[in-house]
Each structure stands twice: as C-alpha cells, then as structure tokens.
C-alpha cells in the first residue's frame, strides 16, 4: 500500500487536521516509509493463525444496569469554549 498526496489530504480532512501543502510532501514520505516497514509483516504466512484481537486473555467486563452517573452538567460543560449554562454551543450546522 502506498499513499499519494491526495490520500493524505483526504485523511487529514476526515480527521479534521489542518495540513498545509509543504507538510503534505514530507508526510507522504514519512507515512510511506512507515507503511513499508509494517508491510514486511505480510511476508509471514499466517494462514493457520487465528487473528489476535487482544493480548489479554480475558472476556469483556460488564456492569449491572444501574444509574450511577450523570447530573454533573457543570463539570461536563466546564471546558466548552462557549456555553449557555445548559448547552454546548457550536457554530451553526444545518442541512
């Protein structure tokens, strides 16, 4: 797999990261070399190996259906740049 400049710009847009044109050049180079390194793994034959989804040999932890959280609006809204006591306030997004 190799990345071209268009792909880099697309991924940056999806991730909402601002990347200027000068940076795209060096990012393309860096990321491609990272991918190349990772792709060495494809040389191994893994036909008979189960995919490893976790290194922990545990099952998913669960909790009982009880209300144990919430009612902390002040805390939740504290770091929001704009607020009106009750809501998060963001630039208008309308379809």
């Amino acid at each position: 797999m190799s990345l071209d400049k268009e792909k880099i710009k697309h991924v940056a847009k999806l991730a909402r990261i601002s990347v200027d044109d000068a940076k795209v050049e060096s990012l393309t180079k860096d990321l491609n070399s990272i991918f190349k390194f990772i792709e060495q793994l494809n040389e191994l034959n893994t036909d008979k190996v189960e995919p490893l989804t976790s290194i922990l040999n545990q099952s998913l932890r669960s909790r009982k259906d009880e209300i144990s959280d919430g009612k902390i609006r002040e805390k939740v809204l504290k770091n929001s740049p704009k607020e009106n006591e009750e809501f998060f306030v963001v630039p208008k997004v309308v379809e």
């Binding site: 697309h10 847009k13 999806l14 909402r16 989804t53 976790s54 922990l56 545990q58 099952s59 998913l60 932890r61 669960s62 909790r63 009982k64 259906d65 009880e66 209300i67 144990s68 959280d69 919430g70 009612k71 902390i72 609006r73 805390k75 939740v76 809204l77 704009k82 009106n84 009750e86 809501f87 998060f88 306030v89 963001v90 630039p91 208008k92 997004v93 309308v94 379809e95």
Partner: protein, 489 residues
C-alpha cells in the same frame, strides 16, 4: 377478508416499475442506564443533565458495557427468529459531527451480535416473510438544536451513549403498505418483549429507508438512495412515494441515479440530497481497542429463550383456536400486548365472540376518540365483561347496551348497578309483551287492516310503537315473533 392481489407499481411512460425497499430501523433499547456508562436514559430530562464524562468523551475515560443491553439485544434477536452470535465485536465508526463528542460511534461492523432472522407480515394478499439481515448494538448520538439561536447550534448530550439496536432488513419490502406493516410488527414484537417502548414521538424508533426501482420482472436491483433518519411511518411512506417517482422519472429521461444519502423534508414533502454526507461513507471502521470481543455463553442464550413471553404470531394462532376468532379479529387483538391482556380478561368471564366484536367496535372507537391507550381505559376489563354478559343473557338489548356503555365511560360504575338503578332491563317476558302489543294493535285498528291488505311496510311502524311504549326495553327478537303471530291472527 377477501384476498386481494398485490398491486403497487409506479407507472411510467415506458412501463411499470417495482419499488424495492430495505429498512435500517434504529430502536432504542429499554434500559435504565446507557450502553457504556451509568447515566440515566430517561426521556425529557434537563439538557446535559444525564451526561457522564464517558458520554461527553473526556480523555482517559473507559467504556464498560451494560449487561442488560446485551440481554435485550439477544431477546430481540430471538423474537425475530434470528441466529444469535456467541462472538461479536465492537468497532469504531469514525465521523465528525458536533453531537458526536467521541468523533466515532461505538457500533458493530463485521461481527454483529445477531445474524439472519425473519418477520412475518399479514397483508391483504396473504402472509409475507421479510428477511432480517442482522441486528447490532450501537451508541446513539446527542441532539443538535438549530432553532434557539440564529448563528449557533446548541448541543444536548443526554441521548449520547444510549443503547440502540440497529435492525437491518433485507430488500424484501415492495410498497409503503408493507413498510407500515413491517414497522408495526417490529414494534409489536419489541413491546411484547419489553426491549423497546416503540415510542416514535420520543424518537425511540426511527429508520433509514433504502429505496430503488426496477422495471417489473427485472431480476437485478436498481441503484438505491438512502433516506436518513425518518421518524414516523407516515413520513416513511411519503418519502418512499416521492423518491420512487423521482427515480422513475430519471430513468425514463435516460438519466443515471446517483447512489447517495438524502433527507426527507417534511414541510415540502420531498427528498433532497445531503451533500455534506459525501465523505461520510468513509467511516474507517476498526475494532475498538477499549473493548474486548463480546462472548456469550450458550446457556445465557438458552435461558433467555426460555424466559421469552408468548409473541404476537403464536398468540394469534392461539386466539383463533381458543376463542374461535377469525384471522382479522385475532390480528387486531394481538397487535398490542395490553390489548390482548384486556381481551383475555374479558373473554374469561363473558362470551368470547361478542366480547371481540364490542371491543373492536365501541370500546376502540371510544378510546380512539379520547386519545387513550387501553391501559388507561375508563372501563375496566371486569366491568366490560359484565356488560357483554348482560347482552348475551338477554338482560339488556344491544341498543340499551350502548346507553349503558356511555354511562360506564362517564361514571366508571359497574353495568349491573347502572341497569338496575335506571330500570334498563330488557322486557323479555312473552306474556307482558303480548299484552302490550295487543294494546297497541287495538289502538291502531286502521293500520292493522292496511297491513293485512298487503301493506307490509307497516310492520316497522308496529315495532316502533312497541319500542316507544316500552322505552326501548322490549326484547326485539321476541317483539318480532309476537307481532308476526298476532298480525296473522
């Protein structure tokens, strides 16, 4: 009911087109707390008051799954006759939106908790099976409010993180009527199971609607469009009609249909393209590193299966057998669990056929009129059964029963008491009736002669007189018999 033929096609200039519909229904799981946090799911709370640091995606917070939500998904899967997967995986579905603080939704992609199943629909043209592709668990997003401020959008995260079941149908639906029947059936099954309250006004049940069209007889599907987030059956039906007509027009004009996401504008009654969603399909799913795979013990699944209540299809069969109802009556009476419970309570103490007729007639009309659910009925099942028995035994006539019914609605009194205190008992003593009728006939000698001379229409006049004199209480059947006998003589 007579069997009609399926007939929903869009007529173009170049032929008839079949409409192909698949639904992705989002059903809110009934649980006290959210899928991965301990905040409450209760509807209608103050904004952002049911939000934890997990729901608002603070750094370093870890999701822990709610075991009840898992059970609810399994119950629903069993109710849809579906395969339950012992192994499923939670993935991150990445997209950017103001009401999604994590920047991704935790969902299930390649390995959903429930696999293929099916739902049976009763259509006027026979029963139809709709395939279920899958059911998976996912988080709901928050709510954006656009009309409180001209230049800003307000975000309420109370809904953020509530568990949803996404139920994906196969593209087996062919008309707005089938969509209506399908949603109602899903809703009914989930309400029986207690896994979703099905309240569409509160957004507990909403759907993305996939629509395509093809020439009648074509084997291949046409290009589909997805209409996002429609929250009422009526709007789904309107959106499908508009969208199908739009696609047929494009095809007939030799144009291509773009596979795209559209929204239904309920004010203009049309669908239109959501350009902002162009990139949205690039979701970059990957397994959520915060969550291990979900492994279900077979014993848990078997135990849940054993504890399921009787579901509408089974109950309908039983009602037809046990209460000798026809398929239509049975269908109506099992549509809601509360209705079927009420009916069974009434039928236990009264005539089962007459009870069904009166429930589906006067009782439903009254509830509809008052906008009440059957659980809030001003007439209890016990009182209703007494009323039915009074009709069945001949104590009161059907006409008087309607009056008693009205009084019961207003007063909540038991019918026996009403009948007695108002002297509404039917006159069924043949001797007394005969006496009364003789009196009427002797007062109307001229009309009796006319009747005997062949003016048989006057029979109705005599019946009317009897009813008038008895205050509507004369037993109609007996009155007819005696009148006929005396007029012959």
């Amino acid at each position: 009911m007579s069997k009609e033929k399926f007939d929903y096609f869009i007529k173009g200039e170049k032929g008839k087109y079949e409409v192909v519909i698949g639904l992705e229904v989002h059903a809110q799981v009934l649980s006290k707390s959210k899928l991965f946090s301990g905040s409450s799911t209760k509807f209608g709370a103050d904004p952002n008051n049911q939000v934890s640091l997990i729901d608002s995606a603070f750094p370093g917070m870890l999701p822990v799954i709610n075991e009840e939500c898992v059970k609810q998904a399994v119950r629903t899967g069993l109710g849809l006759n579906a395969k339950i997967n012992n192994y499923s995986v939670f993935d991150r579905k990445n997209y950017f939106y103001a009401d999604l603080p994590q920047g991704y939704q935790i969902s299930q992609y390649k390995n959903p908790i429930v696999g293929e199943g099916k739902v049976l629909l009763d259509m006027p043209y026979g029963s139809k099976e709709i395939g279920i592709e899958r059911l998976h668990l996912e988080q709901d997003a928050g709510k954006s409010i656009h009309d409180m401020d001209p230049s800003n959008t307000y975000v309420d995260l109370n809904r953020s993180g509530i568990a949803l079941m996404e139920i994906v149908s196969k593209p087996d639906l062919r008309s707005p009527d089938e969509v209506n029947a399908y949603i109602k059936k899903l809703r009914s099954i989930m309400r029986y199971l207690g896994t979703c309250d099905g309240n569409m006004q509160e957004g507990s049940l909403r759907a993305d609607v996939n629509v395509s069209v093809r020439k009648e007889g074509d084997k291949n599907f046409g290009t589909r469009c997805e209409i996002k987030n429609v929250n009422s059956i009526k709007f789904m039906q309107m959106a499908i009609e508009y969208e199908a007509a739009r696609q047929v027009e494009l095809i007939e004009n030799g144009k291509e249909i773009d596979q795209e996401t559209r929204l239904f504008d309920t004010k203009k009654n049309e669908t239109r393209s959501m350009r902002s969603k162009e990139d949205a399909h690039d979701y970059r799913y990957f397994p959520d590193p915060d969550l291990l795979p979900l492994k279900l013990e077979q014993k848990l699944i078997d135990d849940l299966k054993k504890s399921l209540p009787e579901l509408p299809d089974k109950k309908k069969e039983r009602f037809i057998k046990e209460y000798e109802l026809n398929a239509y009556e049975a269908n109506v009476l099992v549509s809601e669990k509360e209705i079927s419970d009420y009916y069974e309570e009434v039928a236990k103490f009264s005539d089962k056929k007459l009870a069904a007729t009166w429930m589906m007639g006067d009782l439903f009309a009254m509830l509809n009129d008052k906008g009440l659910d059957i659980s809030k009925s001003p007439i209890s099942a016990k009182h209703f059964a007494e009323l039915i028995q009074s009709i069945k035994s001949g104590e009161i006539s059907g006409r008087i029963a309607k009056e008693v019914f009205e009084i019961m609605v207003e007063s909540g009194e038991n019918p026996k008491k009403i009948i007695e205190s108002k002297g509404m008992k039917q006159q069924s003593d043949p001797k007394e009736l005969e006496k009364m009728i003789n009196e009427i006939l002797s007062k109307n000698n001229d009309k009796v002669d006319q009747y005997k001379a062949g003016k048989e229409k006057l029979f109705g006049f005599f019946v009317g007189q009897v009813m008038k004199l008895s205050g509507g209480k004369a037993n109609p059947q007996l009155t007819n018999e005696i009148l006929k006998k005396l007029l012959k003589g």
